[in-house]
């Protein structure tokens, strides 16, 4: 029988808490940059300017079809050679996950915008609103409400994907766990505790997102003509 011994883990628990904070920091920053960037890509993708739309489509598809770990390695190891910047694990992580999640957010925005009834565009056009006015005041406010469930699901995926930053030595929760496991020689306890920490964090967010989704469904997000 294995003897579980969590004492060593809890003695250095602040190490894991630092990791958890860093995980949340990378996730938060990636959302902060990724959402506006995703909106920009979606607007480009929907634009009637064909070259612009095709460039956006390529960027979106490229970042959706290549593995995030490959992207991370590329930004961390390759980019500093290409352009002369001092790359840190933190910058590489934020850049990678901002762009990677923006590609997914772009598709969510596009789906939301396209789901809005054509009549809404016509109603706005008929009172003299321009394309950008209609988009900003009439279409997006309605689209964003419909996007919320998909948006939250993607954010949770992002939170899970940030574990990859440990491979370029950014001190997120996963990295701190590796560190602690080596230090304490108690990988079973360390990795189990960390798995539980991730589970609690993600489970809480998932439940929250389900609750919000239910409320939205109940508030009858009706498309009234």
């Amino acid at each position: 029988m294995v003897e579980w011994d969590f004492l060593a883990v809890f003695a250095d628990f602040d190490l894991l808490m630092t990791g958890l904070l860093n995980t949340l920091k990378v996730t938060g920053l990636a959302l902060l940059f990724g959402v506006p960037l995703g909106l920009a890509f979606a607007l480009m993708r929907l634009s009637t300017n064909r070259p612009l739309s095709m460039i956006a489509a390529f960027i979106i598809e490229f970042f959706r079809t290549t593995p995030p770990l490959v992207q991370l390695f590329w930004f961390f190891f390759a980019l500093p050679i290409l352009i002369d910047v001092r790359m840190t694990p933190f910058i590489a992580a934020v850049v990678t996950f901002s762009i990677q999640s923006s590609a997914f957010f772009a598709e969510i925005f596009r789906g939301g915008i396209q789901s809005i009834d054509k009549g809404q565009w016509e109603g706005a056009k008929a009172i003299g609103m321009s394309y950008s006015q209609s988009m900003k005041r009439i279409i997006l406010p309605q689209a964003v409400k419909r996007m919320i469930p998909a948006f939250m699901e993607r954010s949770i995926e992002l939170l899970k994907t940030t574990t990859l930053v440990s491979t370029v030595a950014y001190a997120d929760l996963m990295f701190q766990a590796n560190d602690l496991a080596q230090k304490t020689f108690r990988p079973l306890e360390v990795y189990t505790v960390v798995a539980v920490m991730y589970f609690v964090l993600i489970f809480v967010f998932s439940q929250l997102s389900i609750a919000v989704e239910r409320r939205l469904a109940r508030s009858g997000e009706s498309t009234v003509h």
């Binding site: 009549g119 009172i127 003509h225």
Partner: protein, 257 residues
């Protein structure tokens, strides 16, 4: 009477399909013109060309004698900003209302005034209240559209268009999506507008409205105006076989003897 809208040789085709094949029309101030025709005759497309919801394939449209767009090498060019300004002067009401569901009734009526005409909040609100009063819905100002009946929604849509102080109003089958018992209140509002002297172009299947309210009735068939004239003449003594068949199809409509 002064001319407000003039349409010359209007053509519109979608891909290979010619929907409008040369329409000429002059609309004078205060006139109510009803466009009749079976589905596919091009009447809605014609209406939508007047405020450039659809850009004409050929032809010219004048508002107050001013040509819309500019001509280059025999082709008309339209700038989007010019069309936006034009649309503030030509109100339009749709079959499916197209109210903005995320805004209250009052905000719906204020929206164009604020974002397009750049009126102040106070001015826009006063105007919105006045227009809602005009269509008999002042008490619904703070409701969301979802809480209104179809007839009420359509009257809000009319108020939203009126709030822009348009020179002419376009009505595109505005009662077709309504339950029969709600049609009356919308037609009554439109009749009241006509009597107040609003210039109106109306696409409808309500022959009673055409008969009692219109100054002029146009009958479109196959993308062209087949008959036109005063309603008493066109509806009671149609000259063409097509028009007679069309009227026979509307058996519910009994002309007063």
């Amino acid at each position: 009477m002064s001319e407000i809208v003039r349409i010359e040789n209007l053509h519109k085709s979608f891909d290979k399909l010619d929907v409008l094949k040369g329409i000429d029309l002059s609309v004078s101030a205060g006139e109510t013109i009803v466009l009749l025709g079976s589905s596919g005759s091009g009447k809605s497309t014609m209406l939508r060309c007047v405020n450039f919801m659809e850009v004409p394939s050929d032809g010219r449209i004048y508002l107050h004698g001013d040509l819309i767009g500019s001509e280059q090498n025999g082709r008309m060019n339209y700038r989007e900003s010019e069309l936006c300004t034009l649309r503030t002067r030509i109100g339009m009401v749709f079959q499916h209302f197209n109210l903005f569901p995320h805004m209250t009734v009052e905000q719906n009526v204020m929206e164009g005034q604020l974002t397009v005409l750049k009126r102040s909040q106070t001015e826009a609100r006063d105007k919105a209240r006045a227009q809602l009063e005009r269509v008999g819905l002042a008490d619904k100002a703070l409701e969301y559209p979802a809480r209104l009946s179809g007839g009420q929604k359509q009257r809000v849509a009319i108020a939203r268009a009126l709030a822009m102080d348009p020179d002419v109003m376009l009505f595109d089958e505005v009662t077709s999506a309504l339950d029969p018992e709600l049609v009356g209140e919308v037609l009554k509002t439109m009749r009241q507008l006509a009597e107040e002297g609003m210039t109106m172009l109306v696409v409808t299947h309500e022959l009673g409205f055409a008969y009692h309210v219109a100054n002029r009735v146009l009958f479109l068939s196959d993308g062209a105006i087949l008959e036109q004239g005063e309603p008493q003449q066109v509806l009671k003594a149609p000259k063409t076989k097509r028009m007679r068949e069309f009227l026979d199809g509307h058996s519910l409509f009994k002309l007063p003897d």
